[in-house]
């Protein structure tokens, strides 16, 4: 007589055997398991300090490269942020044209219905301004003759937003007999702004690349750790360890590696900034003192630590997910 039982196995039935059955006991068990994973992972890190330190330094360098670039762009942003994009056009008047004639020319421009404002800057005004803002005041004083041209600043009406219309206007000015050359101020602002955009994207791409690197370095470190401890994993499985129990210490290891790498990276970046602070501020004072070096702020530091910790955990999770299945008692 063949005996057939189709009684389903309920998980609860097995689990009640863990440690008592009530909720508080389970909570205590959960706490004990996590405490065990936390301390054993820290213990492993300390036990293999040399290799842990090497991994952490490599990761920290990668993380500090990304965050260093980020803070560099944030500092440059400060400079570019003061620039307002406007459609202002500067007309540089030929040297042989007298100021009287230049004034007449300016008046003729004012009559153009497309123009909102016109301002003439004489050679003397230009020199004074240059001496004030350029930082080369003394060098200019050494010159025998004022090398600066008369400039007429022309602000077209806002209705003339169209790039092509502006280009036509610029072309007209260029062809005027009085004008040496015409330049749209906006063009270089736009250039700076697009350079900043490129830099911002560059930081994002670089961070993604380095972040992926961090992920895989952590993964490989954890893989080696797993390989080193495969006997332990197999034995633990044989005496009833759940996957969670096996995973936990490795996930905590990933967390610690990521976290300590983040802390080290923060120190690297901050040290570099402190070294650069003095010369940058000296440089800034030589100009108009409007620039102050920006450090990693509280939120940024928090983000740095969070991202590096998460990368560590995710890196080890990847390895556990794909490698641990192969480690079975059979």
């Amino acid at each position: 007589m063949r005996h057939v039982t189709k009684k389903p196995i309920k998980q609860e039935r097995w689990q009640t055997k863990i440690s008592g059955g009530n909720f508080v006991d389970k909570l205590y068990a959960y706490r004990n398991l996590h405490a065990h994973a936390l301390f054993s992972s820290l213990g492993r890190l300390v036990a293999s300090r040399f290799s842990s330190a090497m991994t952490i330094v490599v990761l920290a360098i990668a993380i500090s490269l990304a965050s260093g670039f980020y803070i560099l762009v944030a500092n440059l942003q400060q400079l570019a942020g003061n620039l307002e994009a406007s459609n202002q056009i500067s007309l540089f008047i030929k040297d042989e044209i007298s100021e009287v004639r230049a004034n007449k020319f300016a008046d003729s421009i004012r009559k153009n219905p497309d123009i909102q404002a016109v301002k003439l800057i004489t050679k003397e005004q230009a020199l004074a301004e240059f001496q004030l803002y350029s930082g080369f005041g003394d060098a200019v004083k050494a010159l025998e003759k004022n090398p600066l041209p008369v400039v007429i600043q022309v602000l077209p009406k806002n209705s003339l937003e169209n790039e092509q219309a502006l280009a036509v206007l610029l072309d007209d000015f260029e062809r005027a007999a009085e004008v040496d050359f015409a330049q749209m101020d906006m063009q270089w602002v736009k250039r700076v702004q697009s350079i900043m955009e490129v830099a911002r994207r560059g930081v994002i791409l670089l961070s993604l690349l380095l972040g992926t690197g961090v992920l895989f370095i952590t993964a490989n470190t954890i893989r080696l750790e797993l390989y080193k401890r495969r006997d332990e994993v197999v034995i633990a499985k044989l005496v009833g360890a759940t996957n969670g129990f096996i995973h936990r210490p490795f996930l905590y290891s990933g967390f610690w590696i990521g976290f300590f790498s983040g802390v080290t990276a923060w120190f690297i970046v901050t040290t570099i900034m402190l070294i650069l602070k003095r010369p940058v501020e000296t440089l800034s004072r030589l100009y108009d003192d409007g620039f102050h070096i920006v450090f990693l702020g509280f939120t940024e530091t928090l983000a740095l630590l969070l991202i590096s910790s998460v990368l560590g955990v995710v890196g080890s999770w990847i390895v556990l997910h794909f490698q641990l299945r192969q480690l079975k008692p059979e």
């Binding site: 007589m1 063949r2 005996h3 057939v4 039982t5 189709k6 009684k7 389903p8 196995i9 998980q11 039935r13 097995w14 689990q15 055997k17 863990i18 440690s19 389970k26 205590y28 068990a29 959960y30 004990n32 398991l33 065990h36 006997d231 332990e232 034995i235 633990a236 499985k237 044989l238 005496v239 009833g240 360890a241 759940t242 996957n243 129990f245 079975k328 008692p329 059979e330």
Partner: protein, 234 residues
């Protein structure tokens, strides 16, 4: 008649700790390792599993610990059908089975205490409870006082006793031993077997795979004999 039969089955199941129903195990390329094996062990029973090398002793034990799954037939442990156990149930089923190996399978970089404590830590016991139970288990196998030693400095017999302490520390209802005395001399082997008798006396079901015919003959217990994957004596 039908009812009587099913009642009979029910009674049989209730008393069984372990039941094999027409179990076959086939490894790809190796043919049938077990063929239509049927037997049952009652709660608190002790039995030997014997047979020549390659007769399927280890495979049979592996089916109970869910290290392998049978190709055909059913294995019931503590009234639960192991064929239906999902992967996530396996750890909890293994906690019901204390496993003892020929090569002890101890962690060489952990102390005796830590080795024995492993099943308790896995089950989430607190520090004091772990400590108390580990000492009790070590006391039972006569190794109290050697908690802080590492397995490498212990003799073979002592290492196997650490393995046994680890297997029983969680008080599992079923104890499985695969050639537990394979690496030990006859005198130590007898001591180890005596330990198993003690566990059986306090209610554990014990199944010992061994090809040590002399030793088995000295002890008066049920013998399950496998020959080329078939149960020839029960």
């Amino acid at each position: 008649m039908q009812m009587l039969l099913s009642m009979h089955c029910l009674l049989k199941t209730k008393k069984s700790m372990l039941q094999f129903d027409n179990v076959s195990m086939r490894y790809p390329g190796a043919g049938d390792v077990l063929r239509n094996v049927s037997f049952h062990l009652e709660r608190g029973e002790m039995a030997f599993l014997t047979g020549h090398s390659g007769a399927g002793k280890s495979t049979l034990l592996k089916l109970i610990a869910l290290i392998e799954r049978s190709s055909r037939g059913q294995v019931l442990l503590d009234d639960q059908n192991l064929n239906q156990a999902k992967d996530r149930h396996i750890p909890f089923i293994r906690r019901k089975v204390g496993l003892i190996f020929q090569d002890y399978k101890l962690l060489q970089d952990r102390t005796v205490f830590d080795n024995v404590a492993l099943p308790l830590i896995i089950a989430g016991y607190g520090h004091h409870e772990v400590s108390r139970r580990v000492r009790a288990a070590l006391d039972k196998v006569g190794l109290l006082g050697k908690e802080k030693k590492y397995p490498a400095v212990l003799s073979g017999g002592e290492q196997q006793r650490v393995g046994i302490a680890r297997a029983v520390v969680n008080k599992p209802p079923m104890i499985l031993a695969d050639e537990p005395t394979g690496n030990l001399d006859p005198e130590l082997s007898a001591e180890i077997m005596h330990l198993f008798e003690q566990f059986q006396q306090v209610g554990s079901t014990v199944l010992i795979a061994s090809h040590d015919v002399l030793l088995i003959a000295q002890m008066n217990y049920r013998v399950l004999k496998l020959d080329h994957g078939q149960l020839v004596e029960s």
